[in-house]
Symmetry: C2
Subunit: 208 residues, 2 copies
DNA sequence: CGGCAGGTTGACTTTCATCAAGGAGTGTGG
DNA sequence: CCACACTCCTTGATGAAAGTCAACCTGCCG
Protein backbone atom coordinates (compact mmCIF):
# COMPACT_ATOMS: atom_id res chain seq x y z
CA UNK A 1 0.00 0.00 0.00
CA UNK A 2 2.51 2.56 1.15
CA UNK A 3 5.16 1.30 -1.21
CA UNK A 4 4.34 3.93 -3.79
CA UNK A 5 4.86 6.96 -1.60
CA UNK A 6 7.80 9.34 -1.62
CA UNK A 7 8.69 12.63 -0.01
CA UNK A 8 9.37 15.95 -1.62
CA UNK A 9 10.35 19.30 -0.14
CA UNK A 10 9.72 22.77 -1.51
CA UNK A 11 11.45 25.92 -0.24
CA UNK A 12 9.41 28.84 1.05
CA UNK A 13 7.87 30.94 -1.68
CA UNK A 14 8.04 28.28 -4.35
CA UNK A 15 5.11 27.42 -6.55
CA UNK A 16 4.07 23.81 -6.14
CA UNK A 17 1.51 23.88 -8.94
CA UNK A 18 -0.12 26.50 -11.13
CA UNK A 19 -3.64 27.17 -12.28
CA UNK A 20 -4.43 24.99 -15.26
CA UNK A 21 -1.27 22.95 -14.97
CA UNK A 22 -1.08 19.20 -15.04
CA UNK A 23 -0.54 17.73 -11.63
CA UNK A 24 0.62 14.15 -11.69
CA UNK A 25 0.64 13.61 -7.97
CA UNK A 26 -1.60 13.67 -4.99
CA UNK A 27 -0.01 14.41 -1.64
CA UNK A 28 -0.51 15.20 1.97
CA UNK A 29 1.33 17.89 3.88
CA UNK A 30 3.89 16.60 6.37
CA UNK A 31 5.27 19.92 7.54
CA UNK A 32 5.04 23.57 6.62
CA UNK A 33 2.28 25.74 5.24
CA UNK A 34 1.02 26.18 1.70
CA UNK A 35 -1.86 28.10 0.17
CA UNK A 36 -4.39 27.41 -2.52
CA UNK A 37 -5.13 30.62 -4.33
CA UNK A 38 -6.49 32.09 -7.50
CA UNK A 39 -5.39 35.37 -9.01
CA UNK A 40 -7.20 37.62 -11.46
CA UNK A 41 -5.42 39.22 -14.40
CA UNK A 42 -5.20 42.55 -12.64
CA UNK A 43 -3.51 41.00 -9.62
CA UNK A 44 -6.39 40.68 -7.18
CA UNK A 45 -5.81 37.43 -5.31
CA UNK A 46 -8.04 35.27 -3.20
CA UNK A 47 -6.68 32.52 -1.03
CA UNK A 48 -9.05 29.56 -1.27
CA UNK A 49 -7.58 27.49 1.49
CA UNK A 50 -4.61 26.89 3.71
CA UNK A 51 -2.75 23.63 3.58
CA UNK A 52 -1.45 22.81 7.02
CA UNK A 53 0.19 19.58 8.15
CA UNK A 54 -2.16 16.61 7.63
CA UNK A 55 -4.11 18.37 4.87
CA UNK A 56 -4.50 16.67 1.54
CA UNK A 57 -3.95 18.10 -1.91
CA UNK A 58 -4.55 16.96 -5.45
CA UNK A 59 -7.49 15.46 -7.17
CA UNK A 60 -7.80 11.82 -7.97
CA UNK A 61 -9.60 11.60 -11.28
CA UNK A 62 -8.42 15.01 -12.43
CA UNK A 63 -5.53 15.88 -14.62
CA UNK A 64 -5.30 19.56 -13.76
CA UNK A 65 -5.68 21.89 -10.83
CA UNK A 66 -7.83 25.01 -11.05
CA UNK A 67 -5.72 27.18 -8.80
CA UNK A 68 -2.20 27.91 -7.64
CA UNK A 69 -0.53 26.03 -4.84
CA UNK A 70 2.30 27.92 -3.21
CA UNK A 71 4.64 27.03 -0.37
CA UNK A 72 4.57 29.75 2.27
CA UNK A 73 7.22 28.17 4.41
CA UNK A 74 9.42 25.24 3.53
CA UNK A 75 6.99 22.46 2.85
CA UNK A 76 7.46 18.71 2.91
CA UNK A 77 4.91 16.61 1.11
CA UNK A 78 4.20 12.93 1.19
CA UNK A 79 3.46 12.23 -2.46
CA UNK A 80 1.87 9.51 -4.53
CA UNK A 81 1.71 9.39 -8.27
CA UNK A 82 -1.83 9.86 -9.38
CA UNK A 83 -2.17 6.74 -11.53
CA UNK A 84 -1.19 4.09 -9.02
CA UNK A 85 -3.07 6.01 -6.36
CA UNK A 86 -6.24 5.88 -8.43
CA UNK A 87 -5.72 2.20 -9.06
CA UNK A 88 -5.37 1.65 -5.36
CA UNK A 89 -8.51 3.65 -4.85
CA UNK A 90 -10.46 1.28 -7.08
CA UNK A 91 -9.39 -1.70 -5.04
CA UNK A 92 -9.89 -0.15 -1.65
CA UNK A 93 -13.43 1.03 -0.97
CA UNK A 94 -12.25 1.93 2.48
CA UNK A 95 -9.82 4.45 1.01
CA UNK A 96 -12.26 5.97 -1.41
CA UNK A 97 -14.75 6.33 1.40
CA UNK A 98 -12.14 8.25 3.34
CA UNK A 99 -11.48 10.39 0.32
CA UNK A 100 -15.11 11.30 -0.14
CA UNK A 101 -15.19 12.26 3.49
CA UNK A 102 -12.18 14.52 3.05
CA UNK A 103 -13.62 16.15 -0.04
CA UNK A 104 -16.84 16.83 1.83
CA UNK A 105 -14.87 18.30 4.72
CA UNK A 106 -13.13 20.65 2.35
CA UNK A 107 -16.47 21.51 0.85
CA UNK A 108 -17.85 22.42 4.25
CA UNK A 109 -14.79 24.52 4.96
CA UNK A 110 -15.10 26.30 1.62
CA UNK A 111 -18.75 27.03 2.35
CA UNK A 112 -18.00 28.35 5.82
CA UNK A 113 -15.57 30.67 4.16
CA UNK A 114 -18.18 31.75 1.62
CA UNK A 115 -20.35 33.00 4.46
CA UNK A 116 -17.37 34.82 5.90
CA UNK A 117 -16.41 36.42 2.58
CA UNK A 118 -19.91 37.35 1.56
CA UNK A 119 -21.47 38.54 4.76
CA UNK A 120 -19.05 39.24 7.57
CA UNK A 121 -17.57 42.60 8.52
CA UNK A 122 -13.82 43.15 8.59
CA UNK A 123 -13.77 42.78 12.36
CA UNK A 124 -15.75 39.55 12.25
CA UNK A 125 -13.47 38.22 9.54
CA UNK A 126 -10.37 38.87 11.63
CA UNK A 127 -11.89 37.32 14.74
CA UNK A 128 -13.02 34.29 12.72
CA UNK A 129 -9.56 33.88 11.26
CA UNK A 130 -7.93 33.93 14.68
CA UNK A 131 -10.44 31.39 15.97
CA UNK A 132 -9.76 29.22 12.94
CA UNK A 133 -6.01 29.20 13.54
CA UNK A 134 -6.62 28.66 17.22
CA UNK A 135 -8.72 25.57 16.58
CA UNK A 136 -6.21 24.22 14.09
CA UNK A 137 -3.17 24.75 16.26
CA UNK A 138 -4.50 23.42 19.53
CA UNK A 139 -5.09 19.81 20.31
CA UNK A 140 -8.83 19.63 20.72
CA UNK A 141 -8.62 19.45 24.49
CA UNK A 142 -6.71 22.67 24.89
CA UNK A 143 -9.41 24.76 23.27
CA UNK A 144 -11.16 25.22 26.57
CA UNK A 145 -8.12 26.96 28.06
CA UNK A 146 -8.58 30.50 29.31
CA UNK A 147 -5.58 32.13 27.70
CA UNK A 148 -3.87 30.89 24.58
CA UNK A 149 -0.84 31.86 22.60
CA UNK A 150 -0.83 31.16 18.88
CA UNK A 151 1.40 31.81 15.93
CA UNK A 152 -0.23 32.88 12.72
CA UNK A 153 0.96 30.65 9.90
CA UNK A 154 0.71 33.57 7.48
CA UNK A 155 1.74 37.21 7.11
CA UNK A 156 -0.58 40.21 6.86
CA UNK A 157 -0.71 40.10 3.10
CA UNK A 158 -1.88 36.49 3.07
CA UNK A 159 -4.40 37.23 5.81
CA UNK A 160 -5.80 39.99 3.62
CA UNK A 161 -5.97 37.70 0.61
CA UNK A 162 -7.58 34.98 2.65
CA UNK A 163 -10.22 37.27 4.14
CA UNK A 164 -10.98 39.35 1.08
CA UNK A 165 -9.58 42.53 2.66
CA UNK A 166 -6.59 44.82 2.19
CA UNK A 167 -3.56 44.59 4.42
CA UNK A 168 -4.29 48.03 5.84
CA UNK A 169 -7.72 46.94 6.98
CA UNK A 170 -6.29 43.76 8.51
CA UNK A 171 -3.73 45.80 10.38
CA UNK A 172 -6.28 48.31 11.61
CA UNK A 173 -8.70 45.66 12.83
CA UNK A 174 -5.93 43.84 14.67
CA UNK A 175 -4.94 47.08 16.41
CA UNK A 176 -8.58 47.73 17.25
CA UNK A 177 -8.95 44.29 18.84
CA UNK A 178 -5.69 44.89 20.70
CA UNK A 179 -6.84 48.28 21.95
CA UNK A 180 -10.01 46.70 23.29
CA UNK A 181 -7.99 44.07 25.10
CA UNK A 182 -9.42 41.15 23.15
CA UNK A 183 -6.01 40.10 21.86
CA UNK A 184 -2.36 40.92 22.42
CA UNK A 185 0.12 41.13 19.57
CA UNK A 186 3.55 39.63 19.99
CA UNK A 187 5.94 40.34 17.17
CA UNK A 188 4.61 39.96 13.66
CA UNK A 189 3.13 36.52 13.96
CA UNK A 190 2.28 35.95 17.60
CA UNK A 191 -1.15 36.55 19.09
CA UNK A 192 -2.26 36.00 22.66
CA UNK A 193 -5.94 35.50 23.25
CA UNK A 194 -6.64 36.19 26.92
CA UNK A 195 -10.31 35.24 26.73
CA UNK A 196 -11.34 32.89 23.97
CA UNK A 197 -15.04 33.21 24.67
CA UNK A 198 -14.87 36.97 24.39
CA UNK A 199 -13.11 36.75 21.05
CA UNK A 200 -15.51 34.11 19.79
CA UNK A 201 -18.36 36.55 20.35
CA UNK A 202 -16.78 38.85 17.79
CA UNK A 203 -16.91 36.27 15.00
CA UNK A 204 -20.63 36.67 14.40
CA UNK A 205 -21.07 32.90 14.61
CA UNK A 206 -23.55 31.03 16.76
CA UNK A 207 -22.99 30.42 20.46
CA UNK A 208 -20.17 32.74 21.62
CA UNK B 1 -29.39 -0.84 -8.35
CA UNK B 2 -32.18 1.61 -8.95
CA UNK B 3 -34.62 -0.40 -6.97
CA UNK B 4 -34.09 1.71 -3.85
CA UNK B 5 -34.97 5.04 -5.35
CA UNK B 6 -38.17 7.02 -4.88
CA UNK B 7 -39.46 10.45 -5.77
CA UNK B 8 -40.48 13.25 -3.53
CA UNK B 9 -41.87 16.70 -4.27
CA UNK B 10 -41.63 19.87 -2.20
CA UNK B 11 -43.74 22.99 -2.79
CA UNK B 12 -42.05 26.33 -3.43
CA UNK B 13 -40.73 27.99 -0.31
CA UNK B 14 -40.58 24.83 1.75
CA UNK B 15 -37.53 23.85 3.77
CA UNK B 16 -36.10 20.55 2.61
CA UNK B 17 -33.52 20.32 5.38
CA UNK B 18 -32.19 22.60 8.12
CA UNK B 19 -28.75 23.44 9.40
CA UNK B 20 -27.67 20.78 11.90
CA UNK B 21 -30.58 18.50 11.14
CA UNK B 22 -30.34 14.81 10.43
CA UNK B 23 -30.74 14.03 6.79
CA UNK B 24 -31.45 10.39 6.06
CA UNK B 25 -31.47 10.65 2.33
CA UNK B 26 -29.29 11.59 -0.57
CA UNK B 27 -30.99 12.83 -3.69
CA UNK B 28 -30.63 14.43 -7.06
CA UNK B 29 -32.81 17.21 -8.39
CA UNK B 30 -35.24 16.17 -11.11
CA UNK B 31 -36.99 19.49 -11.59
CA UNK B 32 -37.18 22.88 -9.91
CA UNK B 33 -34.65 25.02 -8.09
CA UNK B 34 -33.42 24.84 -4.51
CA UNK B 35 -30.75 26.72 -2.57
CA UNK B 36 -28.12 25.77 -0.06
CA UNK B 37 -27.75 28.61 2.39
CA UNK B 38 -26.53 29.53 5.80
CA UNK B 39 -27.99 32.25 7.97
CA UNK B 40 -26.40 34.14 10.86
CA UNK B 41 -28.31 34.87 14.05
CA UNK B 42 -28.94 38.46 13.03
CA UNK B 43 -30.47 37.37 9.76
CA UNK B 44 -27.63 37.90 7.32
CA UNK B 45 -27.73 35.00 4.92
CA UNK B 46 -25.40 33.68 2.30
CA UNK B 47 -26.47 31.29 -0.42
CA UNK B 48 -23.78 28.66 -0.78
CA UNK B 49 -25.01 27.06 -3.92
CA UNK B 50 -27.93 26.59 -6.25
CA UNK B 51 -29.39 23.18 -6.83
CA UNK B 52 -30.64 22.96 -10.39
CA UNK B 53 -31.90 19.88 -12.20
CA UNK B 54 -29.24 17.15 -12.29
CA UNK B 55 -27.47 18.51 -9.20
CA UNK B 56 -26.84 16.20 -6.30
CA UNK B 57 -27.50 16.81 -2.61
CA UNK B 58 -26.73 15.03 0.60
CA UNK B 59 -23.61 13.54 2.00
CA UNK B 60 -22.86 9.89 2.03
CA UNK B 61 -21.00 9.20 5.26
CA UNK B 62 -22.60 12.14 7.06
CA UNK B 63 -25.53 12.18 9.36
CA UNK B 64 -26.20 15.91 9.30
CA UNK B 65 -26.13 18.84 6.92
CA UNK B 66 -24.34 22.05 7.83
CA UNK B 67 -26.73 24.40 6.03
CA UNK B 68 -30.31 24.94 5.03
CA UNK B 69 -31.78 23.50 1.87
CA UNK B 70 -34.83 25.37 0.63
CA UNK B 71 -37.09 24.82 -2.36
CA UNK B 72 -37.35 28.03 -4.37
CA UNK B 73 -39.82 26.64 -6.84
CA UNK B 74 -41.68 23.36 -6.60
CA UNK B 75 -38.93 20.78 -6.49
CA UNK B 76 -38.97 17.11 -7.34
CA UNK B 77 -36.18 14.99 -5.98
CA UNK B 78 -35.05 11.51 -6.83
CA UNK B 79 -34.18 10.15 -3.39
CA UNK B 80 -32.26 7.25 -1.92
CA UNK B 81 -32.05 6.38 1.71
CA UNK B 82 -28.57 7.00 2.94
CA UNK B 83 -27.85 3.57 4.40
CA UNK B 84 -28.53 1.40 1.37
CA UNK B 85 -26.92 4.02 -0.80
CA UNK B 86 -23.75 3.81 1.24
CA UNK B 87 -23.82 0.07 1.09
CA UNK B 88 -24.13 0.25 -2.66
CA UNK B 89 -21.25 2.68 -2.70
CA UNK B 90 -19.02 0.15 -0.99
CA UNK B 91 -19.74 -2.45 -3.61
CA UNK B 92 -19.49 -0.18 -6.61
CA UNK B 93 -16.10 1.51 -6.98
CA UNK B 94 -17.42 2.98 -10.18
CA UNK B 95 -20.11 4.82 -8.26
CA UNK B 96 -17.84 6.09 -5.54
CA UNK B 97 -15.44 7.31 -8.17
CA UNK B 98 -18.27 9.27 -9.71
CA UNK B 99 -19.15 10.64 -6.32
CA UNK B 100 -15.64 11.85 -5.62
CA UNK B 101 -15.70 13.55 -8.96
CA UNK B 102 -18.95 15.31 -8.11
CA UNK B 103 -17.69 16.40 -4.72
CA UNK B 104 -14.59 17.84 -6.37
CA UNK B 105 -16.76 19.63 -8.92
CA UNK B 106 -18.73 21.22 -6.14
CA UNK B 107 -15.50 22.14 -4.43
CA UNK B 108 -14.26 23.88 -7.55
CA UNK B 109 -17.57 25.71 -7.85
CA UNK B 110 -17.41 26.78 -4.21
CA UNK B 111 -13.88 28.06 -4.72
CA UNK B 112 -14.83 29.99 -7.84
CA UNK B 113 -17.48 31.60 -5.77
CA UNK B 114 -14.98 32.44 -3.01
CA UNK B 115 -13.00 34.49 -5.51
CA UNK B 116 -16.19 36.22 -6.58
CA UNK B 117 -17.28 36.96 -3.01
CA UNK B 118 -13.90 38.06 -1.77
CA UNK B 119 -12.53 40.05 -4.64
CA UNK B 120 -15.04 41.04 -7.26
CA UNK B 121 -16.90 44.35 -7.49
CA UNK B 122 -20.69 44.46 -7.50
CA UNK B 123 -20.73 44.88 -11.26
CA UNK B 124 -18.39 41.95 -11.81
CA UNK B 125 -20.48 39.84 -9.47
CA UNK B 126 -23.65 40.53 -11.42
CA UNK B 127 -21.98 39.86 -14.77
CA UNK B 128 -20.50 36.63 -13.40
CA UNK B 129 -23.87 35.53 -12.12
CA UNK B 130 -25.52 36.09 -15.47
CA UNK B 131 -22.74 34.18 -17.22
CA UNK B 132 -23.15 31.37 -14.71
CA UNK B 133 -26.87 31.05 -15.38
CA UNK B 134 -26.23 31.34 -19.08
CA UNK B 135 -23.79 28.45 -19.06
CA UNK B 136 -26.12 26.33 -16.97
CA UNK B 137 -29.22 26.95 -19.03
CA UNK B 138 -27.75 26.49 -22.48
CA UNK B 139 -26.71 23.22 -23.96
CA UNK B 140 -22.99 23.57 -24.33
CA UNK B 141 -23.21 24.14 -28.07
CA UNK B 142 -25.48 27.12 -27.82
CA UNK B 143 -23.07 29.13 -25.75
CA UNK B 144 -21.40 30.49 -28.84
CA UNK B 145 -24.64 32.11 -30.03
CA UNK B 146 -24.58 35.87 -30.49
CA UNK B 147 -27.75 36.78 -28.63
CA UNK B 148 -29.28 34.74 -25.88
CA UNK B 149 -32.40 34.93 -23.78
CA UNK B 150 -32.28 33.46 -20.27
CA UNK B 151 -34.57 33.22 -17.31
CA UNK B 152 -33.05 33.78 -13.90
CA UNK B 153 -33.94 30.90 -11.63
CA UNK B 154 -34.00 33.26 -8.66
CA UNK B 155 -35.43 36.60 -7.56
CA UNK B 156 -33.44 39.71 -6.65
CA UNK B 157 -33.29 38.83 -2.99
CA UNK B 158 -31.72 35.46 -3.69
CA UNK B 159 -29.32 37.03 -6.16
CA UNK B 160 -28.24 39.42 -3.43
CA UNK B 161 -27.78 36.60 -0.95
CA UNK B 162 -25.88 34.57 -3.48
CA UNK B 163 -23.54 37.40 -4.43
CA UNK B 164 -23.01 38.90 -0.99
CA UNK B 165 -24.76 42.14 -1.89
CA UNK B 166 -28.01 43.91 -1.02
CA UNK B 167 -30.98 43.79 -3.32
CA UNK B 168 -30.69 47.51 -3.97
CA UNK B 169 -27.16 47.08 -5.26
CA UNK B 170 -28.24 44.16 -7.42
CA UNK B 171 -31.03 46.23 -8.90
CA UNK B 172 -28.79 49.22 -9.53
CA UNK B 173 -26.11 47.19 -11.24
CA UNK B 174 -28.65 45.49 -13.46
CA UNK B 175 -30.02 48.87 -14.52
CA UNK B 176 -26.50 50.10 -15.13
CA UNK B 177 -25.74 47.13 -17.39
CA UNK B 178 -29.04 47.72 -19.14
CA UNK B 179 -28.31 51.42 -19.64
CA UNK B 180 -24.99 50.52 -21.21
CA UNK B 181 -26.71 48.11 -23.57
CA UNK B 182 -24.94 45.04 -22.24
CA UNK B 183 -28.20 43.36 -21.26
CA UNK B 184 -31.92 43.87 -21.69
CA UNK B 185 -34.39 43.18 -18.92
CA UNK B 186 -37.62 41.42 -19.71
CA UNK B 187 -40.07 41.24 -16.86
CA UNK B 188 -38.67 40.30 -13.48
CA UNK B 189 -36.77 37.19 -14.44
CA UNK B 190 -35.91 37.49 -18.09
CA UNK B 191 -32.59 38.77 -19.37
CA UNK B 192 -31.45 39.11 -22.96
CA UNK B 193 -27.75 39.17 -23.58
CA UNK B 194 -27.17 40.67 -27.01
CA UNK B 195 -23.40 40.14 -26.96
CA UNK B 196 -22.09 37.41 -24.74
CA UNK B 197 -18.47 38.28 -25.28
CA UNK B 198 -19.06 41.87 -24.24
CA UNK B 199 -20.76 40.75 -21.05
CA UNK B 200 -18.05 38.20 -20.33
CA UNK B 201 -15.52 41.03 -20.32
CA UNK B 202 -17.34 42.53 -17.36
CA UNK B 203 -16.89 39.46 -15.17
CA UNK B 204 -13.24 40.14 -14.43
CA UNK B 205 -12.36 36.58 -15.43
CA UNK B 206 -9.72 35.51 -17.88
CA UNK B 207 -10.26 35.57 -21.62
CA UNK B 208 -13.16 37.89 -22.35
C1' DC C 1 25.15 52.47 8.83
C1' DG C 2 21.85 51.92 4.98
C1' DG C 3 18.57 49.36 2.67
C1' DC C 4 14.73 46.44 2.58
C1' DA C 5 10.58 43.83 3.70
C1' DG C 6 6.76 43.74 6.51
C1' DG C 7 3.75 46.33 9.38
C1' DT C 8 1.25 50.44 11.17
C1' DT C 9 -1.04 54.86 10.93
C1' DG C 10 -3.22 58.88 8.86
C1' DA C 11 -5.94 61.54 5.35
C1' DC C 12 -8.98 61.04 1.85
C1' DT C 13 -12.01 58.57 -1.61
C1' DT C 14 -14.92 55.08 -3.32
C1' DT C 15 -18.11 51.61 -3.05
C1' DC C 16 -21.69 49.64 -1.23
C1' DA C 17 -25.25 49.49 2.57
C1' DT C 18 -29.00 51.78 4.72
C1' DC C 19 -33.13 54.29 4.98
C1' DA C 20 -37.03 55.83 2.66
C1' DA C 21 -40.20 56.49 -0.97
C1' DG C 22 -42.46 55.17 -4.97
C1' DG C 23 -43.66 52.17 -9.24
C1' DA C 24 -45.47 47.74 -11.56
C1' DG C 25 -47.79 43.50 -11.66
C1' DT C 26 -51.08 40.32 -9.47
C1' DG C 27 -54.79 38.60 -6.78
C1' DT C 28 -58.96 39.54 -3.82
C1' DG C 29 -63.12 41.18 -2.33
C1' DG C 30 -66.63 44.62 -2.39
C1' DC D 1 -64.80 46.58 -12.72
C1' DC D 2 -62.22 49.15 -9.64
C1' DA D 3 -60.07 49.99 -5.23
C1' DC D 4 -56.85 47.70 -2.10
C1' DA D 5 -53.37 45.22 -0.48
C1' DC D 6 -49.32 42.71 -1.33
C1' DT D 7 -45.07 41.32 -3.25
C1' DC D 8 -41.24 42.34 -5.90
C1' DC D 9 -38.53 45.71 -7.91
C1' DT D 10 -36.50 50.34 -8.78
C1' DT D 11 -34.75 54.86 -7.61
C1' DG D 12 -32.96 58.54 -4.73
C1' DA D 13 -30.56 60.64 -0.72
C1' DT D 14 -27.37 59.79 2.78
C1' DG D 15 -23.96 57.41 5.65
C1' DA D 16 -20.57 54.06 7.01
C1' DA D 17 -17.21 50.62 6.07
C1' DA D 18 -13.46 49.44 3.67
C1' DG D 19 -10.15 50.72 -0.11
C1' DT D 20 -6.43 53.79 -1.79
C1' DC D 21 -2.50 56.60 -1.47
C1' DA D 22 1.20 57.99 1.11
C1' DA D 23 4.19 58.43 4.92
C1' DC D 24 6.54 56.44 8.51
C1' DC D 25 7.99 52.83 11.94
C1' DT D 26 10.50 48.47 13.20
C1' DG D 27 13.38 44.75 12.99
C1' DC D 28 16.77 42.41 10.28
C1' DC D 29 20.68 41.52 7.42
C1' DG D 30 24.50 42.64 4.69
Amino acid sequence: LNRIKFYKTYPAGQTIASDGENLEIVASVVSGTATLSRTMEDGRTQILGLLLPSDFMGRPGRKTVAYDITALTDVTLCCFFRKPFEALLQKTPHLSERLIEMALDELDAARDWMLLLGRKSAREKIASMIMFVLRRSCKSGEVAAESVHINLPIAREEMANYLGLTIETVSRQLTALKTEGLIELEGKRGIIVPDITALAKETGDDLG
